[in-house]
Amino acid sequence: MKARQKRIALIVAGLAALGVAAVLVLNALNSNIALYISPTDVAAGKAPQGKLFRIGGMVKEGSIKREADGITIGFIVTDTEKDLPVAYKGILPDLFKEGKGVVAQGKLDGDRFVATEVLAKHDENYMPPEAAKALDDASARAAAKTAQEGAAPPPATPPATSSSPSIKY
């Protein structure tokens, strides 16, 4: 083997070893790297007790309510399997909407999650409003069709309107 080939072999071997080490470290740290846990994790008791942590999921349709004190906003975060009620006092981001992604930081208070910070998580889709409306209409038509044809029609979810009183967009 020439000296040059030795050096190349050394570089390749070094990179491979480094890659394996990185995979092992990242696997070990997996739960620390994740930014948030899901309502299912919370229900399974994986949430830290008495410590700040983040939950993430969708804001359940029709769940946003302003509570009696006039400042606290209540909503439900869902991962479609489990729901977690959240209470929050403060300013919500513009993209915070029912049916959209949300990440909230806070603590568990009994069965309720008291948030100190609420962030909106948007998806990777970018399109003009007309295209989004066309997609919504098409899925609404498809839902109506299955509701007509099916023996047990699933409850048709109304298209998201700006009916939530507390949120202005």
Binding site: R4, R7, I8, I11, G14, L15, L18, G19, A22, L26, N30, I33, A34, L35, Y36, I37, G56, I91, L92, P93, D94, L95, F96, K100, V103, E117, V118, L119, A120, K121, H122, D123, E124, N125, Y126, M127, P128, P129, E130, A131, A132, K133
Partner: protein, 250 residues
Amino acid sequence: MNNRLINWFKYASPQSFYPLAGKMIPWFTALAVIFGIAGLWIGMAVAPTDFQQGEGYRIIFIHVPASWMSMFIYLVMAFWAALGLAYNTRLSGMMASALAPTGALMAFLSLWTGALWGKPMWGTWWVWDARLTSELILLFLYIGFIALQASIDDPRRADKAGAILALVGVVNIPIIYFSVKWWNTLHQGSSVSLTKSPSMAMLMLWGMLLMALSFWMYSIAVSLIRARSIMLERERNTEWVKDVLAGEGK
């Protein structure tokens, strides 16, 4: 076959690469300007408003190209570093050092535009999620590479130390790229990838790709300019540099 090989090795010497780079710079600069104007025009004037983010999404036309470049430049830098370590060529180290400041600029731009975008959309400038944190590490890697090279006086030794740092840091690039797939992050997934069709309207995609091309051309042009000055500086005691300087003095 033999001929082609000889041609490649010919341009591996600074002496013959210097004039070639000089000839290429105006072309890449012109392409950067043309693609940039076309991309900005489509991005800012032609592409439609987004259904959820309104006009605010348009920062994507800077943010995504800068992020792509920050990762890609690092890979190229590591490639030159490996080549330099393996073959001991003078040019490799010069190319790696020429790329680093542009890569750092791109990583900074990516983080900065990301913060400006995150505040109105997510509700925060910064969050320690996997995507943002690994991109910040990339910026630190670039800065570390520049600092390490600057701290060693002998350029050949500086190249070697820098090359090892650059190669070690390569492990961070797939982490940045796949972070949104592997972990829960606030940052959304990729809109454009090799494995699925893009989830963007056609015009938005065109604006972004043109801007990405413009960033590519800019990065190549600037790196070549920087590489040329490094060549002159490092080889200032050689005959060819004296010839070049005498020629430009006329």
